[in-house]
Subunit: 431 residues, 2 copies
């Protein structure tokens, strides 16, 4: 079954918002065996929407629209679907009643414009919205079916999950394609692609590489007879070829994997940050159940705070500045001792755009203090991604990934010697 | 001048990635007086791309494609543009030489597949890529011009800023539309819209409301003769009607505004977090120059860490748990004292999805400790946005916004009594 997405909203064309809804829909539909063949964004223009709906249904079986179902004058999706169907808009008394009740319950005064949300194209089906006010709409048109959903993300997702996806999955039947996404960190996309060339050559198998700063997701797709069996064989071969470079699957972020490994070892971690400004802590706390493994963290942003809050020796900071392997080691031990956790994870470095303490942009030291006083410091060579203020955010993200990957490898007992070697050489060079 | 965007990539249709490039392009083009009338996403399919380019140029003057210029077999944009132009692909010796040089310089082995990036449609213009390997392309077609850019964001942006935008701006001429985005926090979209109804009625003026958790951006657009003059009048009226509800313009985030206000007062701030897990610190450090005003922070995630790291009295935690106005006050004073800053900003609360310490999801206390021992605690009533694991991230975001807004209002000497009243009532109710 082929579906197109039509996102309505000037703000999307003007770049005020990124199209998160389309991404979510694409993924969810794919999971249910429904292929999204095109995704279009148009502005809040009645006749443009009418034309876009018609042309989508000229190519696909159904179109899913989001946006334009609100109460303001620029919300014209209802009107567009009525026009496309050649019918008028009628006031639905039950919807009107519900609008009034919800407004009363939340103590808000109902603005007159809100009653537009009680109008529906004549003959349209209503898609129940348990998370909000305006229902979605199902409108049958010459070329297929149009599903109209609110633009508010959690309302759209709720209606999709509760009403539309079950309906589409029933029409689509079992998927003839099987997919699985494997997650890797710290290895170049082209190196992965070269190593996995034989998997690309497997019958009905396709690999796609989705890079992020310091991470690459590999989407393995298998089609044809016994797609699930082909997928399993392809995945197994990828894992054989890549080994422990693969850290997780699907939405299993590094933080979730680290959380699981800590739980299995009844261990806890605390984070000492500088250039990452709180992002490592935020990443660790995003994993469900993180309160079991993450106790807290310290953001020692100013140099003197590394001494004041973490006990890094003043003499060390005075001699070498904040960006040095021994500073990372002291920060890691300091946060572990102060919070009483099993592990302390630290970062210090130069996010840019300017060098710091004589160290170039992209210089980063990551420290890990473990049980029995073990200390590890690694220094990934971060590729500086271009110029300008953006590089800071990219370097921060890469640092977060490298830090979590160091912890993961340490918990699994995997080798980090190559990493350590680079920081040892730096120590020799800089003293 | 009318332009359409064509983003190429299966990963976008499958929802692996959100279309950040299209959002950036939409905004940048609008700033240069170029209207984006449609934005389409298609997969890595040669003939679909050919058709989509042709149909875009049937509606608009130019189409900007992103993606599909890499070295792997699914990168087919070059081939599609060659087919659309009715020409073949030719090897460019200068590009090939550059490819080899870059690979040598970064110590990487050049994979054979990489040479695809040295091929160009015959007769195409090359758009210099100072940030990466493959150049962009300019291809003249029957309906207009196709600009093909890499999908890697900073490469795409670099080529756009350096080559394409100047060219398009010169063709487009001065914009007939003027825009300005005003930023507000803590007021409902519908309340703002009702208050600003008279501005909507002004000649040639249009308002769009772009909501985020606890924030609403108001985009004011003016068209027609003297669009800039109309815009200035509309903006002035909005500011008169909303007063200090407007905290900034365009990309002036709350964190940047707070940073500026702290600099003006030669003041510094430290953050003590719990449910927000490091996000307030990350937000504050994202503002350029933040090292001048933000000294550091403490993420006291586990309840006992509030005592251990911030000096919150054990008895208080034992009696009331971590979610209480007095805990917020103690955390704020504790982080300010420990880091020696002018202000300490704290949050404690229940992000969900489960209640905590007998407090329902959405209960949040925000503390601010200031000079001369002043302490303020507010308790915004966060609307709980639906159900499920997503509400956690939304409540965290709303809490970050409320916390920064509290600091902003305090620095400006604005009233926070209404906020404080809610927490005083809670204290009476719960003891």
């Amino acid at each position: 079954m082929r579906v197109e997405l039509l996102t309505v909203g000037d703000e999307l064309l003007l770049g005020d918002t990124v199209n998160g809804n389309a991404a979510w829909l694409g993924r969810r539909l794919a999971d249910h065996g429904v292929e999204v063949t095109r995704s279009v964004v148009v502005g809040d223009e009645l006749d443009v929407i009418v034309e876009a709906v018609a042309s989508a249904l000229g190519r696909a079986d159904a179109v899913i629209t989001t946006g334009g179902l609100g109460p303001t004058y620029d919300d014209v999706t209802r009107d567009a679907l009525a026009k496309a169907a050649g019918v008028g808009l009628v006031r639905d008394p039950a919807l009107e009643r519900r609008l009034r009740e919800r407004a009363e319950a939340s103590g808000r005064m109902l603005q007159p414009m809100a009653f537009r949300m009680a109008e529906v194209p004549e003959g349209a089906g209503l898609l129940r919205n348990s998370a909000g006010t305006a229902p979605g709409l199902r409108v049958e048109l010459p070329g297929g079916i149009a599903y109209a959903l609110p633009g508010v993300p959690f309302e759209m997702r709720t209606i999709m999950d509760e009403v539309v996806l079950p309906e589409l999955a029933a029409i689509a039947g079992p998927p003839g394609v099987a997919r699985r996404t494997l997650r890797t960190a710290r290895v170049w996309e082209s190196v992965l692609a070269t190593r996995l060339a034989e998997v690309e050559a497997m019958d009905g198998v396709r690999l796609a590489y989705l890079p992020d700063p310091a991470e690459v997701k590999i989407r393995v797709t298998a089609a044809g007879p016994d797609a699930p069996g082909r997928l399993a064989a392809a995945e197994a071969r990828v894992r054989e070829l890549l080994g422990d470079v693969v850290y997780g699957v699907e939405d299993e972020t590094l933080a979730r994997v680290v959380h699981r490994l800590l739980v299995e070892r009844s261990a806890t971690v605390a984070a000492a940050e500088s250039l990452t400004g709180g992002l490592i802590s935020a990443e660790l706390t995003a994993a469900p159940g993180s309160s079991e493994t993450y106790a807290g963290g310290i953001v020692a942003y100013a140099t003197e705070m590394k001494a004041r809050l973490l006990g890094v020796p003043d003499a060390l900071l005075a001699e070498h500045g904040a960006v040095h392997p021994d500073v990372a080691a002291a920060m890691a031990a300091g946060v572990r001792d102060r919070l009483g956790t099993t592990y302390g994870l630290s970062v210090t470095g130069v996010a840019g755009p300017e060098p710091q303490d004589g160290r170039p942009v992209g210089t980063v030291y990551i420290g890990l203090a473990g049980p029995e006083g073990t200390r590890t410091v690694v220094s990934p060579k971060l590729p500086v991604p271009g110029k300008g203020p953006e590089i800071r955010a990219v370097i921060q993200r890469m640092t977060v990934v490298h830090a979590l990957e160091l912890l993961r490898r340490a918990l699994l007992g995997l080798d980090v010697a190559e990493w350590s070697e680079e920081s040892r050489r730096d120590r020799e060079e800089w003293g």
